[in-house]
Amino acid sequence: MKNDLVERYIYAVVRRLPEKERKEVSLEIDELISSMLAERAGSGESEEEQVRAVLNELGNPEELARNYSNVAKNCLIGEPHFSLYKRVLKIVLIAVAGALALALLIEWLTGVPGGVEYDLGGIILLTTKGIIHLLSTIISGLQGAFAIVTIIFAILYHQGVELDSEKFDLNDLPELPDTEKRTGIGEFIVSMVFLSIFAVLFVVLPHINVPGLVTVRKWISFFNPEVLVTIRPLLIALVGTALLEVVVKMMKPMGSLMRFLATLLANVVVIITLLVWFGNPLVLNPVFVNTFQTDFSWNIMGFNGAPIVGFIGKWAMLPLPLMIVLVIVIITSIIEIVSAGIKTAKASKRSI
């Protein structure tokens, strides 16, 4: 078995090279390392020590990659600044997009005019408007972030500012990408169990959805069963697409297009369902809240800080914990879509 450290070192070099160069250069470096190791054989060191000594002698893989690539010097941002620039840009763009999405989502959810009962069409219209506003704001935010980072790095490069990245540590070598990884049977079973429970409680028997209150008289559900019945088609779609995603993840390796599409579909359905469901003014079971307040004399606070009364509510009437859960689930779904997209893009780049 080939030494893991050697493979990671080679990968750290070739991943910075054009796709068509990688195989040949891998073989060359592999040959070089074998030759250097052969020379050290019998030095009394352990195999691990020999490998570490050889790789340290070869030096920073980034520098070796630079020697292999003919990067023009008369450019806006060149090496070694360019490698760092790409890394920083990626982090900044993701952070800016995430922060803007979160801020806008909160602004939009709290800003929805209250007092009106929305029908399904109204909610979809509002959702569409919100998404368009969200996208246009994020795009202009990203443009600004891109410009600022680029200008800073262009200045650093042309001023010849030295970077710490020249030093390297063998332990910092990146892990080899695991493109063959599929979902294991354990995860599949857990997903199936959860989906089945969800389907039974919210789709088949909406009147006993959990969590609920057990009173002397009967079971009182937390969510309004009437609403669950209205959005039943959406809930069925949610279970269906989630099932599809689980099955596709079993069949297809990480980074395949099918896997990305299944993730995209399942998460989009989750987001739409949640917005429609929680956007319904009657999302909570009025009986539940009444019982809670009369039996436990404990006011449930709405998202706007005022106690919930009457239960003909709107977004602002959602209890705060529920609102937080909603925001977290939506953000998680968006992150899942984006990360699946990145993995697929990377995998398709590798296989060209």
Binding site: V25, L27, L32, S35, L64, N67, Y68
Partner: protein
């Protein structure tokens, strides 16, 4: 003083860098593989790092100045390089220019 040393080191590396093409081409008259070249240059007091030699051999091959062949007969495959016809012409011209430059620079710095 430290800065002086590092400046000297940088200039010295620059000076050597211009000659590496000439030196490496001169060593490829017989088929040779990268690490062999690194070792032999070291013995001849013109040490070059392996991480410079390997990419350089590849670049010279791309420029058509060297040809290469993988020797896969032994259990350790090795890539052997040999100077091409175009490489010979290139080398002779570069060598002539180098000798000429030595004379010129000698005149300039010793006048």
């Amino acid at each position: 003083m430290k800065e002086f040393e590092s400046n000297f080191e940088n200039v010295s590396i620059e000076l050597k860098r211009g000659l590496t093409n000439l030196v490496v081409l001169s060593q490829c008259k017989e088929p040779t593989y990268g690490y062999e070249l690194v070792k032999s240059l070291d013995e001849k007091s013109f040490p070059l790092d392996a991480n410079t030699v390997y990419p350089l051999l590849r670049r010279l091959e791309k420029q058509g100045l060297l040809r290469s062949d993988w020797d896969v007969i032994t259990d350790k495959p090795r890539k052997y390089y040999l100077i091409s016809e175009m490489g010979e012409v290139f080398f002779e011209r570069l060598k002539a220019q180098w000798y000429e430059m030595i004379e010129i620079v000698k005149n300039v710095i010793e006048e």
